[in-house]
Amino acid sequence: MRLTGKVWKYGANVDTDAIVPARYLNVSTPEELALHCMEGIDPEFAQGVQPGDIIVATANFGCGSSREHAPLAIKGAGVSCVIGTTFARIFYRNAINIGLPILECPAAEQIEGGQTLEVELETGKIHNLDTGQTFQAEPYPEFIIGIIRAGGLIEYTRKELGR
């Protein structure tokens, strides 16, 4: 699958309180959560984000609480993919489990806000259409590919249980 979108660039240690502040956790649908996506650090995001846009950050994106509301808000906002140099482990699991494409790429540092990227999910190739650069994301472990192919952890589990 090829994803194309404009970059929203953030730095290191973007925590889940920044992605969706806890005061909004009294709701749980992606659509409602999307209204406050990134509000903790970027009040412009929720208004300006377009379907297909891509979030790029550096180290430890999604650190802090286990709230699945964070990747749900990002997915609900129409973001097609999140790229970071590293991710906090619970956020990483959550994104894979709910089918939000997520890529670890050491070169994420070099990508700037406002640029347009084309991402090939199968190969992990990230093309920067503004600069012509191509970056390679870390490959997924085989086990994770199984979950992605199934369409998320619930679908994977249904298949395992024969339902």
Partner: protein, 421 residues
């Protein structure tokens, strides 16, 4: 080659002799946990799996503690989703407002989580139970939905970083200071995807209270779990509480560690984490003049009886600064009752502090002490991210209970030693 306790617990729950770091395994879980914020999504996803009931009604535990007692109508609806599920599934262990506590204080106290267990919770501070020698880790709601349905989760076996704390702790220095100092040393992603193992004479001397505080904040260094070896202290805590058998796993002498970090704690001062990361720590003597508007003493990190005893020791016979709100939140009803019996609550109220029923409330900016723009709070909680306790323009400083209580009296961040003068 020997195994770390993390490897041993996962191997036992995967039904194999040996596991290696990096290996993916399916493990059986002993306890699955969710709260009023994470349960509604977990229940929604559980329903999509298409099974009728949870895998074991004794092993799925739900605690309404975050926005409970119900904060507003929407929160009440969320809590109701949890409550309806608990009743429909006839879950064995349920703790309603009036009996409930902050989940990570409640479960160990009730003997529901035990050494050697694998525990997964839809709450990042599930790692608290590592203090008991349990492999306990936080996950999201979908993972928890699958664990509720199948009794299993997938895990990647982590490498372990071993921390060895040498020396004896000074007065007013405890588990909170050890873990804040450690996070300051390794950074907020210093143990990403890894297990932390805490050892050395300084932690051997720590009570279970201090160990829970340290294990609780392992996630603040990015860790999957923060483990303590099982010893006499653990046994004394667990024996009167356990209502089922358990197994203690300690690391082999020849276990392989990703790293061994030695820390001399004999000169360690109380630590204060500055906004907006738990790793931005300074020793108390380097804090400078920081006026505060609020002090919060409680949370899954520091809401246990010993924390309240220290708080009372500082507040007794003193008055909270006229312009400071000091909010003390016992972590469970048992802690609360004991604090009443020991006269601690009397000391808090006489000092001019507010005392609340157990709730996570202010720690995550939920209720019971939300901050306005420009306000500063010193808190015994675990996170000081931007906007964590309210306005994005507010500030949170993390400290131990003695420092938080002394600061409430001083009206600025300071320690109990300053009060004695």
């Amino acid at each position: 080659m020997g195994m770390t306790m993390a490897q041993k617990i996962l191997a036992a729950h995967a039904g194999v002799e040996l596991v290696e770091p990096g290996q993916f395994v399916d493990v059986k879980v002993d306890v699955v946990l969710a709260n009023d914020i994470t349960a509604p999504i977990a229940i929604r996803e559980f329903t999509r799996i298409g099974v009728e009931g949870v895998f074991d009604r004794d092993k799925v535990i739900m605690v309404p503690d975050h926005f409970a007692p119900n904060r507003d109508i929407k929160s009440a609806e969320q809590c109701k989703v949890l409550r309806d599920f608990v009743q429909r599934q006839n879950l064995t262990h349920y703790f309603e407002v009036g009996r409930m506590g902050i989940e990570h204080i409640l479960l160990p106290e009730q003997g529901l989580v035990l050494p050697g267990d694998v525990i997964v919770g839809a709450d990042s501070h599930t790692c608290t139970y590592g203090a008991l020698g349990a492999f306990a880790t936080g996950m999201g709601s979908t993972d928890i939905a699958v664990a509720m349905a199948t009794g299993k989760v997938w895990m990647k076996v982590p490498e372990t970083i071993k921390f060895v704390y040498r020396g004896r702790l000074r007065e007013w220095v405890g588990g909170k200071d050890l873990i804040l100092h450690t996070i300051g040393v390794v950074g907020v992603d210093g143990a990403l995807y890894q297990a932390m193992e805490f050892s050395g004479e300084a932690v051997d001397d720590l009570s279970m209270n201090g160990r829970f505080t340290m294990a609780n904040m392992a996630v603040e260094a990015g860790a999957k779990v923060g483990l303590f070896a099982f010893d006499e202290e653990t046994q004394a805590y667990v024996e009167p509480r356990a209502r089922r058998t358990y197994t203690a796993y300690n690391s082999d002498r020849d276990a392989r560690y990703a790293q061994v970090i030695e820390v001399d704690v004999s000169e360690l001062e109380p630590q204060v984490a500055f906004p907006h990361l738990p790793s931005s720590v300074r020793p108390l003597s380097q804090v400078g003049e920081i006026p505060i508007d609020q002090a919060v003493i409680g949370s899954c990190t520091n809401g246990r009886l010993e924390d309240l005893q220290v708080t009372a020791q500082v507040l007794r016979g003193r008055k909270v600064h006229p312009y400071v709100r000091c909010i003390v939140i016992p972590g469970s009803q048992a802690v609360y009752l004991e604090a009443v019996r020991q006269g601690l609550v009397e000391a808090f109220i006489e000092a001019g502090a507010a005392v609340s029923t157990p709730t996570c409330g202010p720690c995550l900016g939920g209720h019971m002490g939300v901050l306005a723009a420009g306000e500063r709070c010193v808190a015994t909680t675990n996170r000081n991210f931007q906007g964590r306790m309210g306005s994005p323009q507010s500030e949170v400083y993390l400290a131990n209970p003695a420092v938080a209580a002394a600061s409430a009296v001083l009206g600025r961040i300071g320690g109990p030693a300053e009060l004695a003068r």
